[in-house]
């Protein structure tokens, strides 16, 4: 296999006859990013525009994964509400928000007794579709696994560990 097609013999020269090509393109290290000439490859995340996925598509995928709006239903209410979990800093704020939105009291959480003494218990549906009591897991974990909220009548929430 020829490694050189002998370009010089048929080359279209643009310089004056007799001159030698002074410009030899610098051999770029294959992985160098546009503004560095170092030989060390940059981490993959820094390659602009790679992989070639349109931003329109990237945005849609990102939204699918990190949507923070969740539906909130309350037993007996005619329609649902939606809240953005991102705006709350923790369970206390969330419960206060829910209390205001639905005009009810939920009371305080305790690991042993759930939401003792209140008429309602906040539950949520997690990624696996299971109905869980709000408050058991750390807040960040809750935010990423909560798919929707359900404010249940405490009498129905017996099985979730609420003492009535």
């Amino acid at each position: 296999m020829d490694s050189d097609l002998n370009l010089k013999a048929t080359e279209l020269r643009l310089g004056l006859p007799g001159t030698i090509d002074a410009i030899s393109p610098p051999k770029n290290s294959k992985r160098s990013s546009p503004d560095s000439d170092s030989a060390t490859p940059p981490p993959k995340a820094q390659i602009v525009g790679w992989p070639p996925v349109r931003s329109y598509r990237k945005n849609n995928l990102a939204e699918a994964e990190s949507g923070s709006f969740v539906k909130v239903s309350m037993d007996g209410a005619p329609y649902l509400r939606k809240i953005d979990l991102k705006v709350y800093n923790g369970y206390v704020e969330l419960l206060e928000g829910l209390e205001k939105m639905f005009k009810l009291t939920i009371g305080e959480y305790s690991e042993r007794e759930g939401y003792k003494g209140s008429e309602y218990a906040p539950a949520y549906e997690d990624k696996d579709g299971d109905l869980m009591l709000v408050g058991d897991v750390p807040w960040e974990m809750f935010k990423s696994s909560c798919k929707r909220l359900r404010i249940m009548k405490a009498s129905d929430a017996r099985g979730l560990g609420c003492a009535v």
Binding site: R31, S55, Y56
Partner: protein, 582 residues
Amino acid sequence: MAYSFPEEVLEHVFSFLSSDRDRNAVSLVCKSWYDIERWCRRRIFVGNCYAVSPEIVIRRFPELRAVEMKGKPHFADFNLVPEGWGAYAYPWIAAMEEAYPFLEEIKLKRMVVTDESLELISKSYKSFKVLVLTSCEGFTTDGLASIAANCRHLRELDLRESEVEDLSGHWLSHFPDSCTSLVSLNMSCLGSEVSFCALERLVARSPNLRTLRLNRAVPLERLANLIRRAPQLVELGTGAYSAEIRSDTFSNLADAFSACKQLKALSGFWDVVPSYLPAMYSVCSGITSLNLSYAAIPSSDLVKLISQCQNLQRLWVLDYIEDSGLDALAASCKDLQELRVFPSDPFGAEPNVSLTEQGLVSVSEGCPKLESVLYFCRQMSNAALIAIAKNRPNFIRFRLCIIDPQAPDYLTLEPLDAGFGAIVEKCKELRRLSMTGLLTDRVFKYIGSHAKKLEMLSIAFAGDSDLGLHHVLSGCDSLRKLEIRDCPFGDKALLANAAKLETMRSLWMSSCSVSFGACKLLAQKMPRLNVEVIDERGPPDSRPEGCSVERAYVYRTVASRQRLDMPDFVWTHDEDSSLRYS
């Protein structure tokens, strides 16, 4: 002999020619044919908005009814073209306002369109019918409101994947009650909610509606009512395909679908709840095009759906389908012509799904009509590519993207030259090729020798030297578009093949080894090539002569090479400086 035919006869004959190529050929026969043809041409396609000027177009074709145009180069899709580079639609729209009062269609791709342009369109043309904006940007929903309000005979409003500043959903309500002409509405790229009542009424009063692509904000509970009002739909894009699981919602939806006897294409499917997919089963046997590329559903659910669609010709899907799903596809969809598999987690370091080269091999084996592929995966081998090439010599489009851009054959650790070589050798009708992986100059030698019908080639992180580029430019006879990034290709090959560049639409080279000096020489030598140096580091001559430019975009043009809308990071040949060389 031409003199004996009256003009009207020739015009009548020409009216049967719809292809641009035929019309261009006709206009080269003689002066009188050129003249007759230009007066009766009604549609033009401008592949590069800077290849020609509005004045030239208007002067030559005084009676156009439809204009289709493309702006930014393809790599703009991946953020390789800086913001503000160009491709503004306004100068064209403004020039055409006076020249073409009867204009009916405007189709733009990768152009910057402002609300001002949209308002001008809506007010200038009494019989305006079709507006298609693909991958465009620069406008807001206010511009859409103008179109809705003022275009009395609007048939198509298609905003394919454009980036629209979404101020509100109110624009849709601007369609007057008297507007009953809609045939196609694609608003899938918009974020905000439109008034569902307005949407339902619009659909109900549009008896010719064939294509309806909703946006994500239209909930599944609303879909049944919409479809019920348009059982004649041929193409449907759903909104979010999720709802609380309720049997009445399901049966409502299933009933609505079963009334749509003409449905051929489905898309949308954001946030899919798999339990609702069977609601569509009644239409699946007629479906020829399915776009599930936003649907995050497991392979098993995908397979259940796809195996209902025996007449499927086109499938776009996420890699959740996995090799097993592609095996099932190969077994059930024997009419498949086009497959696109997109990555669900393009930036993840580790594979999140079990999708490998094997899936593509299966489909190439099982689907005899497969001719067009776009495939993202994380590993490839020469053996697989060779098998694919042997199975499917009828490929016309083959685009492979391996997430690691320089991945070698994962079995032998060799470059993938032999694999891609087999593709170009066996697939003699190949028109478009995108390659990734570890590739040396050898693959370009194969391409230059075999890919004689190749029109578009995309290369990234490949090759060893100028020889690679030279092989392509000197060997690919049908090449129209060449786009290259991060390859060690430079001045020698470029200058040696200068004349070739005028036979192509454009050449894009970014992060390669092209010097400013070579760009200047090329522009001087080839007066009908515009050699744009796109460099955000400041004036190119402030750096040493041998320094590579960030990007070079070379395209043929009959317009001025100093376009008036050039931003400060673009340099082109200075016409005045040529006087210094006389």
